[in-house]
């Protein structure tokens, strides 16, 4: 017994040695980046002559109307995308459940667009929903609108509709697959019990199915929220330049010719990282509660 334990210990040690180089790189890149970012956000950047720590960058961004607008917009994008994705994903999973008993092919289609990169989706949205896009041209062709320019703005628009469409399209299958897996493992008997005890369809869903799938939905949506909150490429491609989503704003500030804007860019990145970290922690906690149950 003792022998085996030490053997195991040795094994574990050698695994850590083997992993060490990779871990070092990850830690260096991640923590190094984080610490550098933090220092620079605190106005410490000797290379460009900033030597004293202060919170000016944070004060500057939080008093800047543009930043606040970006923050609100980013919350709007993340929240709306997550909410719509969740509702549609749960509905889709419920609809697909009967078809799934043993049918791989449906599963395949459902998970197909998980493999398509976000960028491709963004280009698709552009192609379809621009003022000169396919949808507006078809609608013009059908005389639903008189000219393509009359098509309501869905890309580069203040409500970030194009961005949300892209996220929803991409995240429905992600949440849906998780919810479907839970639904299939839970089975339909709990709903049957509820129906038999006098619950109508809606009550059975609301009182029984939803609580059973909720932990999974919450976990999935926290991931989606954190991602849509911090992702850069989609708002960059499909969003307005002002107000821009936070990650885009941070990028703009960082590439600004005025070097003094750098601490502010870093402060924004820190804010994004902070909010995402909070969400991931919430997620871990929720999933732990879920596992315990």
């Amino acid at each position: 017994m003792k022998m085996r334990l030490t053997e195991k210990g040795a094994q574990r040690l050698s695994i850590s040695f083997l992993l060490a180089p990779a871990l070092a790189v990850i830690i260096l890149l991640f923590l190094g980046g984080l610490i550098t970012g933090l220092l620079r956000s605190l106005n410490y950047f000797p290379l460009i002559g900033l030597n004293d720590f202060n919170f000016e960058a944070y004060v500057a961004i939080f008093t800047d109307n543009g930043f606040i607008q970006s923050l609100v917009l980013t919350f709007h994008i993340a929240f709306t995308s997550t909410l719509i994705s969740c509702i549609l994903a749960v509905a889709a999973a419920l609809l697909l459940r009967p078809a799934f008993r043993g049918k791989r092919i449906v599963h395949f289609f459902f998970s197909l667009n998980l493999t398509i990169p976000h960028l491709v989706g963004a280009i698709g949205v552009l192609y379809l929903f621009q003022n000169s896009g396919l949808v507006s041209r078809i609608m013009t062709g059908l005389d639903l609108i008189s000219k393509p320019a009359d098509f309501p703005a869905m890309v580069f628009d203040p409500w970030a509709i194009g961005i949300i469409i892209q996220y929803v399209w991409k995240e429905i299958p992600f949440i849906g697959v998780i919810v479907l897996a839970i639904l299939l493992s839970v089975g339909e008997d709990y709903e049957s019990v509820a129906r038999s005890l006098g619950a109508n369809r809606w009550q059975a869903f609301r009182q029984v199915t939803l609580p059973l799938i909720m932990p999974g939905v919450v976990s999935a949506s926290v991931i989606v929220f954190a991602f849509t909150f911090g992702a850069f490429e989609i708002p960059y491609l499909l969003g307005r330049t002002f107000p821009a989503a936070l990650p885009v704003l941070a990028y703009q500030s960082y590439t600004d010719v005025d070097l003094a804007a750098r601490p502010q860019a870093m402060a924004m990145a820190m804010v994004i990282a902070f909010i995402s970290t909070l969400l991931i922690m919430a997620y871990m906690k929720l999933s732990r509660v879920y596992i315990r149950e």
């Binding site: 049957s192 129906r195 038999s196 005890l197 059973l212 149950e293």
Partner: protein, 359 residues
């Protein structure tokens, strides 16, 4: 009180397989306890789910008090099913589980609370309100599932093996409890079991199902005294079978002729059946033949003898004192009391239960 009638009820899950329930006709008496008995996989749960409205029959009809209820939603049928695997809602307290049906009916919180307490007393788990299902043993969960069904005072109560997880002592208690509640409340109850003893102890009438088909629907004693086939007799415990020819109330066999006034068939090739308990050793007479005792077992409350008669070997169960009277190798008269003999179809030789011959 509700009278339940199943008429040609059929469920086919998969056209490749034989029907799970096949042309089932059953008249379930109002306010009575009917047992649905049969081996695993014979379609008991499927039948219950169809009555509860949780599965749509492939064909056939279900009538409550003479009216078809196929188009009525499960929550409006007044038939509550208690599942085999209890299925308490895992995230709800015991009180919320039991009160679920009342909550769906928008009963006030206060009334729910007091009726839940009553129910917990009834199933002998007082004070369990705030526990979670995973803090209960299997038997306790089963009783909570029963309470959760009873609280809504159903017209038809469908119990799918509700006692399978209880130990012998608790099972006896729960049988008495179910019987008492059922009689008091006058709920038409269908009780699924694969245990023939449980069916006999509890039920007013027993419906025996093999492979989705009804074999016999009768009062419990009929399954022992007048089973309709050798398979049924076998399912209800060991029976002696002797092939022969039946004519004018006499069964002619290789080991002798026996008077047999009771028969399920007419004249012709037939099968004599007699239960081991009915065989009398050391008793002579018209229906008696000579046999040789091969071996015996003393089992405290009874004794069991293997007896060779001609080329046949039969089993006799007697009162325990008889081991003192007969020893192995003794030749004794073996009496087949005419009233205890039951004549069956000849070709229904004992087959593994589920074989396709009894239809």
């Amino acid at each position: 009180m509700t009278q339940v009638k199943l008429s040609g009820l059929t469920k086919i899950f998969d056209a490749k397989n034989p029907p799970a329930v096949d042309q089932l006709d059953l008249d379930i008496d109002s306010g009575k306890l009917t047992a649905l008995l049969g081996p695993s996989g014979c379609g008991k749960t499927t039948t219950m789910k169809m009555i509860a409205g949780l599965l749509r029959p492939t064909s056939g009809d279900i009538l409550f008090d003479g009216n078809s209820i196929l188009s009525i939603k499960p929550e409006e049928r007044g038939a509550v099913m208690v599942f085999q695997n209890y299925l308490l809602f895992p995230y709800m307290s015991i009180a919320d589980n039991i009160g679920f049906g009342l909550k769906m009916r928008k009963v006030s919180k206060k009334e729910i609370r007091s009726r839940v307490t009553d129910m917990l007393d009834l199933v002998q788990l007082p004070g369990f309100e705030d526990r979670k299902p995973n803090q209960l043993s299997g038997g306790q969960q089963q009783r909570i599932a029963l309470a959760r069904a009873l609280i809504v005072e159903p017209n038809v109560l469908l119990l799918d093996e509700p006692l399978s997880n209880l130990d012998a002592h608790l099972r006896d208690e729960m049988r008495v409890l179910i019987r008492r509640i059922q009689t008091e409340m006058g709920i038409t109850t269908v009780f699924v079991t694969h245990d023939q003893e449980e069916a006999v102890v509890l039920a007013d009438k027993v419906a025996l199902l093999f492979d989705g088909r009804l074999q016999q629907f009768d009062s419990p004693d009929a399954f022992y005294d007048t089973p309709r086939s050798a398979e049924i007799a076998t399912f209800f415990g060991g029976t002696n079978f002797i092939p022969g020819h039946y004519q004018d109330g006499v069964m002619k066999t290789d080991i002798g002729n026996f008077k047999a006034p009771h028969s399920a068939v007419g004249d012709g090739a037939a099968m004599l059946s007699i239960r081991p308990e009915a065989i009398e050793l050391g008793v002579g007479g018209d229906n008696s033949v000579a046999g040789t005792i091969l071996s015996h077992v003393y089992a405290g409350r009874y004794a069991r003898f293997q007896v060779k008669i001609g080329d046949l070997e039969i089993e006799a169960i007697t009162e325990p004192g008889q081991v003192k009277l007969f020893g192995d190798g003794d030749t004794v008269p073996v009496n087949f009391a005419p009233d205890k003999i039951w004549i069956l179809e000849a070709n229904s030789t004992p087959q593994p239960v589920g074989a396709d011959s009894a239809g």
